[in-house]
Amino acid sequence: MATLSDPPAESFRLSQLIYDTRYRSLTIQVIVFILIMLGLWELVSNAIQNLSALGKDFDFSFLGNRAGYDINQRLIEYSNDSTHGRAAVVGILNTLLVAFLGCVTATILGVIAGVLRLSNNWIVGRLMTVYVEGFRNIPLLLWIIVIFAIMTEGMPQPRDFRGDEPEASMILGDSVAVTNRGVYIPNLVFTRSLGGNEMSEAADGVEAAIVPSVSGADWTLILVVLALGIAASIFIGRWGAAKQERTGVRPPGLFWMRAGAIVIPVAIVLIVLGATLDYPELTGFNFSGGVHLRNALIALWFALSLYTGAFIAEIVRAGILSVSKGQTEASAALGMRPSWTMNLVILPQALRVIIPPLISQYLNLTKNSSLALAVGYMDVRSTLGGITINQTGRELEGMLLLGGFYLITSLVISAVMNVYNNSVKLQER
C-alpha cells in the first residue's frame, strides 16, 4: 500500500506573477485595470477642474426651464412656453417617427430590389445593380441634401395650384398636393371624437366643417384595439398550429380568421368614432387642412429608405442565394407547389441569414436619422443636442442625455431583434 504524502508546500514567489500561467492572467488584468482607471481618473479630474474654472456645475435642472423656441413639427402638444425636457421628448418622438417610417419603407424597397436583382430578366437585374451600387457608394448626407433640393427647387409653389388653368394640380383624385413647401395629404379626423372636438353645426345649407384637433384619446383607443387584434391573431395562429399538430388537418380559413381579428375591431372603432378624411385645400396663400409633411421629413425619410434599402437588397440577395438549390429541387420532388416551396422551405432558411444583418441595418438607419441636421428636421439632436445646448450652455449634460438616448434605443432594438433571431435560428444538437 503506497503512502500518499502531501506534495511539498510551495512557497509563493513573486516571480510566479509573471512566469506562472496561474497567476499571470491576474497580473495582466490588474495592470490593465490600473491603467484604465488612471486614464479615466485623469479625464474626470480634468473635467472637474475645467468645469470649476468655467464656473459651471453639473446638474440637469435646466430640463425644467422654459425652452422659448418653437418646433415646427410635433407629435405631442408643445409651445415655446414648454420646458426643455418636453422639447427633448418632442425631438425623441420625431426621431422615432422618421426611424420607424424609414425602416418600413427601406425593408419594402430592399426586399423588392434584392429579389429583382436575382430576376432572370437581364435588364431588370442590371437596373437594380445600378440602384444598389449607386446608393451604397455615395454618402448618405449627399442623398439627403439632393432629395431636399429636389423637393424645394423642383416642386411647384402653392400659388401654381390656383386659377382656372393651374400650372400644377393635385394628384390621386385631388387628395395629395406636392408643393415646394412640403406634401399635403388627407388627415383622418373623427366627427364623434372622444376628445370632444365637435362637428360644427351645419347652418343654412353651409357644409358642416370639421374642427380637427389633436385628440390623444382617439388614437390611443385605436392603437389599443389594434394591439388586441394582433394578439388575438397570434392566438388564433397558435391554436391553428396546435390543432394541425394534433389532427394533421389545418383548420380551413385560418388566414381570413387571423386577418379578420385585426381588421374588423379596428374598422368598428373607426366607424363608431365617425372617422372621415379631411382633405387639404388651397386657401389664401397656402394649403390648409390635411396633414402637412414637411420637406425636411420627406427628404430624410426618402433618403434614409433609399440608402438603407440598397444595403437591405444586398442582404436579401445573399440570404436567398445562401439556400442551396437542392432544397428547391427536393421540395419540388416532394410535389410542393412553388408558393409552398417559397414559404415553407426557402424563406425560413433565408431568414436565418437575413435577420442578423437586417437588425444592424435598422440600427444604422436609426442612428443615421441624426443627419436630420442637414435639412433642419427637428429630431432629438436638433432640439436637445442643438438649440437646448446652445441656449443653456449645458454641453456636458446635454450630450450625455443625447448619447444615452441613442445608446438605449440601439440596445433595445438589438435586444428585441435578437429575441426574434433566436426564435428562427437553426436548431442544432
Binding site: 509573471i18 468645469l51 435588364i123 451604397r136 457608394n137 448626407l141 439632393v146 450630450m399 448619447g403 445608446l407
Partner: protein, 445 residues
C-alpha cells in the same frame, strides 16, 4: 430473295456517303436573338418588365443626357452661363430644358480639391498622395517587391510632414517612439521574458511620446533647424480633407480594431468587459454625436490650458468610431475559425501572440475582408459629416460656393461632381475587396 430486294432498295434509295458539315443553329436558337428571348422575353411578365424598364431608362436618359452633354464649361458665373446658353441654344421654352453649367467646377476646382491650402504649396499634397499610393501598393498587391514595405512604414510620417510642414523632427521623433517599442519586443524578450517585454513595448513609447517628444523636438530643432513652411489644419479643405481624415482613420483604426477584437475574445474578465463596453458604447451612438462631442466636450477632458486642433480631434473620434466597427467584423472572423486552429496552435507550443500572429489572425482577417472593406467605405463616406462641425469638406464647400453671389442657385453640377468622386473611390474599394477575396480563396469547396 432478301438480298435481291435489298439491292433494288439500295439502287432506288438515296444514301448519304459522307457527313454533312455542321450547320449554324436556327437564328431563334442562338446568338443575340436567343439571348434576348431567354433574358428579356421569356414570359409575358418578363416582357412587361423589360418594356417598363426600357421606358424608365429612356425617360431618365432623355431628361438627363442633353443637360449633361450640352453643358457649358467656360464661364465666370452662373449668370454668364445663362447668357452663353441663351446665345448658343436660344431662349428657354417654358419649363426646364436648361443645360448644365460645368464652368463652376473649372472655376472652383482648386477649392473643391485643396480648400484653402496655399496654392504655391499644392505640390505637397499631390506628392503626399502619390507617396500614399506608393505606400499602400505593396500592401494591396503582393506581386510588388517586398522592399517597398519600407516605404509603407515610412509613408505616414513623410505624408504628415509634407501635408502640415513644420520641423522635420516632429515626425522623426514620433517614428522613433515606434522604433523604441519594436526594439523592446525584439531585444527585451531575452532579458525580461515575453510578457514583460510586450507590456513595456506598450508603455515605454507612450511615456516617450507624452513626456519627452515635446522638449526633444525643440532641442533638436534649435540644433538643426530643418523644416518646410508649416500649414495650419484650418487651411485644409475639399477632397484633401476627406482623404486625410479617411486615410488616417483607416490606417489607425485597423490595429486598434484588431486589439479590441482580441480583447473581446479574451478570457481575461476585466479586459473582456472593458472591450465590450467600449465597443457597444461607441457603436450605439451616431458618429455625428461623437463629432459634436469632439468639438464641444473634448476640451473638458484635457488638461487645463491644452488646446489641440479640431482636425486632430476629428481624426481621433473617427478612428475610435471605426475601430469599434472593425473590431466587430474581426470578431466575426475569429468566431468563424474552427476550434481546431486554436488547439493546433497550442499544441505547437506557441505563445498567445505567436499563435495569433502566425495562425489565427491571418485566417480571421481573410474571412473578414468583405466586412473590413465595407467599414472602410463607410468611414470614407462618413468624412462628409465633418461639415457639421465647421470643417470644409466637399459638401461644406458646395455650400460655400453657393453662398457666393457668382454661383448662387447652382445645385446639381456640384452634387453630381461630388457624388461621382465619392462613387469612384468607394466603388473601386469594393471591387478591390472582391478581387482580394477571389485571390485569397484557398478553401477547397
Amino acid at each position: 430473295m432478301s438480298e435481291l430486294h435489298s439491292e433494288t432498295a439500295l439502287d432506288s434509295a438515296y444514301v448519304r456517303t459522307e457527313m454533312l458539315p455542321e450547320q449554324a443553329p436556327p437564328i431563334t436558337a442562338a446568338g443575340p436573338v436567343r439571348w434576348v428571348r431567354d433574358n428579356l422575353f421569356s414570359s409575358i411578365a418578363n416582357a412587361i418588365m423589360t418594356i417598363l424598364s426600357l421606358y424608365v431608362i429612356y425617360v431618365v436618359l432623355a431628361a438627363i443626357l442633353p443637360w449633361v452633354v450640352y453643358g457649358i464649361w467656360d464661364a465666370g458665373s452662373l449668370s454668364e452661363c445663362r447668357e452663353i446658353r441663351e446665345a448658343r441654344y436660344g431662349p428657354l421654352d417654358g419649363h426646364g430644358g436648361g443645360v448644365a453649367c460645368w464652368a463652376v467646377l473649372v472655376d472652383r476646382w482648386d477649392q473643391l480639391m485643396f480648400g484653402f491650402y496655399p496654392p504655391e504649396l499644392y505640390w505637397r499634397p499631390i506628392l503626399a498622395f502619390l507617396l500614399f499610393l506608393g505606400g499602400i501598393a505593396p500592401v494591396l498587391y503582393d506581386k510588388l517587391p517586398r522592399k517597398m514595405l519600407i516605404l509603407t512604414a515610412a509613408m505616414p510620417f513623410i505624408c504628415f510632414w509634407l501635408l502640415w510642414g513644420g520641423s522635420i523632427w516632429a515626425p522623426v521623433l514620433v517614428a522613433a517612439g515606434f522604433g523604441i517599442g519594436w526594439a523592446i519586443i525584439k531585444f527585451g524578450t531575452r532579458f525580461v521574458g515575453a510578457m514583460t517585454a510586450t507590456i513595456l513595448a506598450f508603455i515605454v513609447p507612450i511615456l516617450f511620446w507624452v513626456l519627452l517628444v515635446g522638449p526633444l523636438i525643440d532641442a533638436f530643432h534649435s540644433v538643426a533647424p530643418i523644416g518646410i513652411e508649416s500649414v495650419q489644419s484650418r487651411e485644409f479643405g475639399g477632397f484633401l480633407l476627406a482623404f486625410v481624415i479617411g486615410a488616417s482613420g483607416i490606417i489607425l483604426s485597423m490595429p486598434l480594431g484588431i486589439v479590441l477584437a482580441l480583447g473581446r475574445q479574451s478570457d481575461l474578465f476585466i479586459i473582456n468587459k472593458f472591450s465590450v463596453i467600449f465597443i457597444e458604447v461607441i457603436r450605439g451612438v451616431p458618429l455625428i454625436v461623437w463629432l459634436f462631442t469632439a468639438q464641444l466636450l473634448l476640451g473638458y477632458f484635457l488638461p487645463p490650458g491644452s488646446n489641440f486642433d479640431l482636425m486632430v480631434r476629428v481624426i481621433i473620434m473617427v478612428t475610435l468610431f471605426s475601430s469599434a466597427y472593425i473590431a466587430e467584423v474581426i470578431r466575426g472572423g475569429l468566431a468563424a475559425l474552427p476550434r481546431g486552429q486554436y488547439e493546433g496552435a497550442d499544441s505547437l507550443g506557441l505563445n498567445y501572440w505567436q499563435s495569433m500572429q502566425l495562425i489565427i489572425l491571418p485566417q480571421a482577417l481573410k474571412i473578414s475582408i468583405p466586412g473590413i472593406v465595407s467599414s472602410f467605405i463607410g468611414l470614407f463616406k462618413d468624412t462628409t459629416l465633418v461639415v457639421f462641425i465647421g470643417l470644409f469638406d466637399p459638401i461644406g464647400f458646395s455650400n460655400a460656393i453657393r453662398a457666393d453671389t457668382d454661383w448662387n442657385g447652382i445645385y446639381w453640377e456640384l452634387f453630381i461632381f461630388i457624388g461621382l468622386c465619392f462613387f469612384i473611390c468607394c466603388f473601386s474599394m469594393s471591387r478591390y475587396s472582391q478581387y482580394l477575396e477571389r485571390k485569397l480563396a484557398t478553401g477547397h469547396r
